[in-house]
Subunit: 317 residues, 2 copies
């Protein structure tokens, strides 16, 4: 078992790939007082990264900056090996292609410091395949964030077959140390956990439109005006605990789960998203959005998200 | 097509059955300035109803009372026929048993005013079976709330086979008029829509524990610290619209839905909730709850829900 650095000793974080996810991570690390060592292969990436951070910084100010946080504390590197060489921790956000990730790992395998962990934002790939054969493989973990990472606390941490178990523990602790909410995913499955939960809900939401049960706008409201309000406050098991009244989760399971199991039997179809179904989904959100552009909707979401996160922090017990 | 009263002319609302759901509805109607005509067959129901309203009233004050709202504007009736006789609208909250509902409908069928609509809070029954054969059947709809109805805006409105389509339109309009968010469910299916969406998520959350993917507490966090934060702000289709970046929902469907469809293929199991699985679900929430009782957790949820609803109202565009 390798020994890993004390959390407080980490000053510099490598950020590999600065598209939407990488730029959002960089913003988060800067706001929490770290220096960022960034690298991206794209043309004009420095300017885009700076613009992203400038745009997101007011949100980070609203949520509270760490002492000494400096949005300009970025070093721009010409190759990934240099970006990780001085890093205490690395967040990798390369495109979701196995060969692209492995090419990148090949370029950093020799310069990654011997105590530094590399955490991949991958949502769809499997670490065991990504890490296979690299000298530093034991220090590679998945650290999958939720979009946008600079606002949403969740990080899913997953080990590959060659990952040192202590590297997983260290990563969970480190993410929590810097204000994220890290969870431990014990197996490598497609989509990890949170995206699978989201996919389960989306499947039923697609079926509801396909089957003519309700309009796209009404399906959206069926979540956002109903159970979605509770899901921001507690997860599905804790909600069922309260659905059981004074008898708690056992009461809920005894009284309601047989009925729900019957519904489940009617919820087994995997819809095919035909061009016609796609058109009606797209038309439905367009109708609901009305005059609001994607930018307007994003701005509205993020404004509310910041207020929601602030409220949750203020009411934490 | 019958003609229904102007919304502003409604002054008195019948509330049949004053258990948790009925009492919560009564609270909502009182807070919105209506008089309530209540009936329940249970011993001691008047005292319990008054206690519920007293307990919930501060929440209604925090969310804003209608002018003239009076928490004592309740008439207690000894039989259901009297409770509906002067009502402009009736919310029925009898136990979830078809024969119990039909016995109750038999007792009010003759006294329900000719313009008044009866809306059933049923979550599990089908209106076509409930209404069959009654003189007033054309004015019976499902108006399914989400717990707790005095806080959560969603109401799912569903017609039975004998329901006048205009009664559905009127009911949706009336609920919206009094501050709820009503949606139209076009077919009678078990669980309507929102509970099916919730059941789809819960199924995957149960499987994650059964399969050892993550702990109960981490599954809860996978929602509440991640996608759940967005579901309080917008529904699943609008979220996918924003997941597509500038290209919107079409971009999301083109780029991500094939991958999600592959996950769906791995998400087809209906878990059996064995005693062992039930024990581990229950132990998991107990561990997460720690010292907090069900009452504490409910209080925490409702305090946060009130602040969340207030924030959403303040930021509505």
């Amino acid at each position: 078992m390798a020994s890993y650095p004390a959390y407080d000793s980490i000053r510099r974080i490598g950020v590999l790939g600065t598209g939407t996810i990488g730029a959002s991570w960089a913003t988060y690390f800067l706001a929490h007082g770290f220096e960022v060592d960034a690298w991206d292969p794209g043309e004009g990436w420095r300017e885009r990264l700076i613009a992203f951070i400038d745009n997101a910084w007011p949100a980070m100010e609203a949520l509270g900056l760490a002492p000494g946080a400096d949005k300009t504390a970025i070093r721009f590197h010409d190759n990934p090996g240099d970006a990780v060489a001085q890093a205490g921790f690395v967040q990798e956000n390369a495109p979701e292609k196995l060969d692209v990730k492995r090419d990148l790992y090949r370029r950093i395998d020799n310069t990654l410091p011997s105590q530094a962990i590399l955490s991949s934002s991958t949502s769809g790939l499997i670490m065991s395949a990504m890490q296979d054969g690299f000298a530093s493989a034991g220090r590679f973990v998945v650290g999958h964030p939720f979009n946008p990472p600079h606002l949403i606390p969740l990080v899913e941490v997953v080990a590959g077959k060659d990952t040192d178990p202590a590297a997983v523990d260290w990563s969970i602790g480190f993410y929590n140390h810097i204000g994220k909410h890290a969870i431990r995913i014990n197996k490598e499955v497609p989509g990890h956990l949170a995206n699978r939960l989201q996919a389960a809900l989306w499947r039923e939401a697609v079926l509801a439109v396909k089957d003519g049960l309700a309009s796209v706008e009404d399906v959206n409201a069926a979540v956002a005006q109903g159970p979605g309000l509770r899901w921001a406050l507690m997860g599905p098991h804790m909600i069922m605990n309260l659905a059981g009244g004074k008898g708690g989760y056992r009461q809920m399971i005894d009284h309601f789960s047989p009925g729900i199991a019957e519904w489940w039997e009617t919820m087994t179809e995997n819809p095919r998203i035909t061009p016609e179904l796609a058109d009606s989904l797209i038309a439905g959100v367009a109708e609901e959005a009305g005059e609001r552009s994607i930018d307007d909707l994003e701005e509205e979401r993020d404004e509310r998200l910041i207020r929601l996160l602030t409220m949750l922090k203020e009411t934490a017990r």
